[in-house]
């Protein structure tokens, strides 16, 4: 009997239940931790159950399957990426609040067990990087970039589905680890030898390895897809230096993904070989060398930092130009700066471990290389400020995020220059100063950028604007909450408090940790306001409808379509004659024209590949984590069969008849004819139906 049990369930047992410790040894301390962990598990299960019940109740399974899960449409895949990101963001913020709460009462104790706290900071980091930031920016690029270059879809729509499937599988694995615990306690970077089998025999590190590996593979494929699309699918006349800046940053991001993700694949794969097949790559005995792991990890990790920041740079460039009513200042310089940053990002990985013990000369080289990145970034900041200079600035939600970003990001950048000095780095290495620094880059940089992007492009995707007041409240809460939560950490870092501290014995830390805890609560409200904003906007969607498609007086091609755009994006591929292609059309009075003819359009056909990969990916990772070898073999076989069978499919496209395209397009143009154009003073009112008044020659409006 127990043989069968072992065969079916591997090493999965009752002790995987998150409240098992509390039942076995019911001390107050264990019960508190058990309730927190058990509550989280219940939340996951109830949440999943509620979604299933709701879809069944609404009778939407077929709709979900045909319109979303099997759709190769880049717009829908992009939205699904962002949905994953939002769900994971909510979880990771709650975890952050728990960590801040622990440290706020952490003088001589606290309420979390060391294992629990370790899982908190590991999942928080892993989720925020791999399952919040990456899917978020992938989703935004997925949605916007093909529209901006005048394409109908990405180059490889089915591969795009597979990317989504892999990310979904990784996210699912992290969520499953809440129910069948534990997750890794090795931090998001998972350094061996701590994460080796000898010190961490449990399932936690394996969960981490496979979740991260799935995410990495997804991002590699995404990078290839984006780069090929931008190189090969631009509309006629859209030369490289006519591309919108967001597309430029998408291209740089894609190239960084292509070359920056493989090191992490190598890293996690070798760690897995160590753990599963008794290799000695990173072990502390028999000739293993853990510094190889650290080098490989940061050979990924540093390009990753710029993957996370370049896309938001592109978003801010669009936001500043649009909401200042001006063309982007120093376009060429911004492009060059973007490429410089992308290139330099491969030359600085060693600054993550100045204290490794290499020679001072090597540290000096990498320190200087790190400081060099400040130059192109500074160029960008000045370009954005000069874009705003003498513009008619409209302080909408994306613009609040963008202005907050500029101020906070410069502060974070300066602390980065401090950290780039090896002798200073020795003092604050692995302290909260570092934590403050990278949150200072990633929250105002990446997260604000992504939230600005959602506010900016949401009306394009769904056909109605997001409600402005709750949007502004959320934005201000993010800015204030961020400052309150992370500026104290600079002080704590200088006072010598190490990162990832469960508890401390220095009373001088306490006021700062309490302040940071308050900041976490403000951020929790910011998240709540985002949800309220979404709720209110959906409720008032008819009020804020912008079907005409151009609510912000946009500059690039994505605004030249209806909101939401038809599946094929453009009835005929537009021809591009300059930068800011759509603004140029509006200025010349050539926008919204009827094409001479409406040819049939060939679009990719639906496919279940993405769903299959999501399911087999989850099963494979789960089986590997719990040693259920039958599940591993089964999911490998199913994947292989599916991939081979896909090669035999011949009807990979379907035709949308020209007559249907014509009908849709003429109906939209008719709608535009009936829409009253508004000037920018009414942008945030319900009078804005997505049609701006035409620009007047030589005047900013």
């Amino acid at each position: 009997m127990s043989d069968i049990w072992n065969f079916v369930f591997g090493r999965l047992g009752w002790d995987a239940l998150p409240f098992w410790e509390a039942i076995k040894d019911p001390t107050t301390f264990n019960i508190i931790n058990g309730v927190i962990a058990g509550g989280a598990a219940a939340l996951v299960l109830l949440g999943a159950l509620a979604v299933v019940v709701w879809i069944t109740w609404a009778g939407k399974w077929r709709y979900l399957w045909t319109e979303w899960l099997t759709s190769p449409d880049h717009k829908k895949i992009g939205i699904m990426f962002i949905v994953i990101a939002m769900v994971m963001l909510s979880r990771a913020i709650i975890e952050a609040v728990f960590m801040r709460a622990q440290q706020a009462v952490g003088l001589d104790g606290g309420f979390l067990s060391p294992e629990h706290f370790g899982e908190f900071f590991t999942t928080h980091g892993t989720i925020m990087i791999f399952f919040m930031a990456m899917p978020f920016l992938t989703g935004i690029i997925n949605y916007v970039m093909p529209l901006q270059i005048g394409a109908r879809d990405l180059s490889f729509p089915i591969m795009n589905q597979i990317s989504l499937g892999l990310t979904a599988a990784g996210a699912a694995i992290v969520m499953i680890s809440l129910v069948l615990a534990p997750f890794s306690t090795g931090g998001w970077s998972g350094y061996p030898p701590y994460t080796e089998l000898a010190y961490n025999p449990g399932a936690g590190v394996d969960y981490w390895i496979w979740a991260v590996t799935l995410s990495t593979l997804s991002s590699t494929l995404t990078g290839i897809n984006f780069a090929v699309t931008i190189y090969k699918k631009r509309a006629p006349g859209m030369k490289l230096f006519r591309m919108p800046l967001f597309t430029w940053t998408a291209l740089s991001t894609a190239i960084l993904m292509i070359f920056g993700m493989p090191p992490l694949t190598v890293c996690t794969a070798l760690l897995a070989l160590d753990r599963y097949l008794d290799f000695h790559m990173f072990t502390s005995d028999l000739g293993g060398n853990m510094m190889n792991y650290v080098n490989l990890f940061w050979a990924f990790g540093h390009p990753e930092v710029y993957i996370l920041i370049l896309t938001p740079f592109g978003v801010y460039s669009e936001v500043f130009a649009t909401f200042s009513g001006k063309r982007l200042y120093g376009y060429t310089l911004l492009v060059i700066a973007t490429i410089c940053i992308a290139f330099l990002s491969f030359t600085v990985w060693l600054h993550h471990f100045f204290t490794m013990g290499q020679s001072a000369a090597i540290n000096a080289v990498f320190g200087i290389a790190t400081m060099l990145i400040g130059i192109p970034t500074g160029v960008k900041v000045y370009d954005w400020m000069l874009t705003m200079y003498r513009g008619r600035i409209r302080l909408s939600a994306p613009m609040i995020y963008a202005v907050g970003f500029i101020m906070l990001f410069v502060i974070g950048g300066l602390t980065g220059i401090i950290l780039a000095t090896p002798s200073v780095d020795y003092q604050v290495h692995n302290s909260l100063f570092l934590i403050a620094h990278f949150h200072n880059m990633l929250i105002p940089g990446t997260l604000f950028g992504m939230l600005a992007a959602t506010n900016f492009w949401f009306p394009k995707a769904f056909g109605f604007r997001l409600e402005k007041r709750w949007g502004r409240r959320a934005a201000y809460c993010w800015i204030i909450g961020f400052m309150l939560a992370f500026f104290p950490l600079y002080a704590l870092g200088v006072l010598g408090m190490p990162r990832r501290s469960l508890t401390f014995f220095e009373p001088a830390y306490l006021p700062w940790t309490i302040a940071a805890g308050c900041g976490a609560i403000v951020i929790l409200f910011a998240m709540l306001f985002l949800l309220i904003q979404l709720w209110v906007s959906v409720r008032d969607r008819h009020h804020n409808n912008v079907f005409a498609g151009d609510p912000w007086d946009g500059r690039s091609l994505e605004w030249a379509t209806s909101s939401p755009p038809p599946e094929y994006n453009f009835p005929v591929i537009p021809e591009v004659f300059s930068r800011d292609a759509f603004m140029a059309e509006k200025e010349q009075g050539k926008a919204y024209q009827v094409p001479d003819e409406f040819p049939d359009i060939e679009m990719p056909a639906n496919s279940a590949m993405g769903v299959i990969i999501a399911v087999t990916g989850t099963a494979l990772a789960f089986g590997l984590t719990w040693y259920m070898w039958w599940l591993v073999v089964l999911s490998c076989v199913v994947t292989l069969v599916a991939v081979i069978a896909r090669g035999y499919v011949r009807n990979t496209t379907r035709i949308i008849p020209g007559a249907e395209v014509r009908r849709t397009h003429l109906a939209w143009l008719e709608h535009i004819r009936c829409t009253t154009p508004v000037d920018r003073s009414k942008e945030q009112t319900s009078e804005n139906r997505g049609l701006p008044v035409p620009p007047v020659e030589g005047a900013v409006q």
């Binding site: 590699t220 090969k232 699918k233 000695h280 790559m281 000739g287 090669g647």
Partner: protein, 220 residues
């Protein structure tokens, strides 16, 4: 620049301009496959670049781990030049035969010749794999197991990864042969063959790196 002349789906103009791509350009006799598959070939090249990073990093790691034998057997005791040379030859000849298959695809409208060259290629690939497995088996019996030392771990993370790629390429080749049996040499098959050829020759280049760095370097 090719972009200005690039046709988009939906723009079915009668006079399609020629598009060259960085693979074997099949020429005017295969116009349809040429135009529609250009992106795929380019995308596959980009994938190869990404894959090359994997091998590059593993090569680098291998070099840093050369000293980590931990008292176990080193390269001099485990590697055999003769055996590695035979494997090299098998793989190089298979690349040549794949080249012949590509030429048959381009110039000879004869399915039989193409299939024969592909089958020869497949047999050579399988022969390489069999020989490599035999080699590993021999290393195992002589105590050269990955759990013995860091050096052997890095060897077994690098060389079998190449073998795994060859295995994948062989499976792909079999799948394509099946597609030829079902559909004949249609544009899908042509596109797959173009990409598989790139992979096949790429694996040759990686193997030459392994042969020079791991085997020759180890025995010297």
């Amino acid at each position: 620049m090719t972009m200005t002349t690039k046709t988009q789906p939906g723009h079915a103009s009668p006079a399609k301009p020629r598009v060259h791509h960085p693979g074997l350009n099949l020429g005017p006799a295969h116009q349809e496959s040429e135009d529609t598959r250009e992106e795929m070939v380019f995308g596959f090249w980009v994938f190869m670049m990404s894959d090359l990073i994997l091998f590059g990093l593993l090569f680098g790691t291998y070099v840093t781990m050369l000293g980590g034998t931990a008292g176990g057997p080193g390269p001099g005791e485990l590697f055999e030049l003769k055996s590695a040379f035979i494997e090299t030859m098998l793989l190089l000849i298979s690349s040549f035969t794949f080249g012949m298959a590509s030429l048959a695809l381009k110039y000879r409208n004869d399915r039989k010749v193409l299939v024969i060259w592909l089958l020869v290629t497949l047999l050579l690939g399988l022969g390489f794999l069999a020989h490599e497995l035999y080699d590993f088996h021999k290393m195992f019996t002589e105590g050269g197991v990955p759990s013995r030392s860091g050096f052997l771990s890095s060897f077994f993370s690098l060389v079998p990864l190449h073998g795994l790629h060859v295995t994948g390429a062989c499976i792909w080749l079999i799948a394509i042969l099946g597609q030829i049996a079902v559909y004949g040499v249609d544009s899908f098959v042509k596109s797959s063959l173009l990409r598989l050829a790139i992979l096949w020759h790429f694996l040759d280049i990686v193997w030459i790196g392994i042969f020079s760095l791991v085997y020759l370097g180890g025995i010297v």
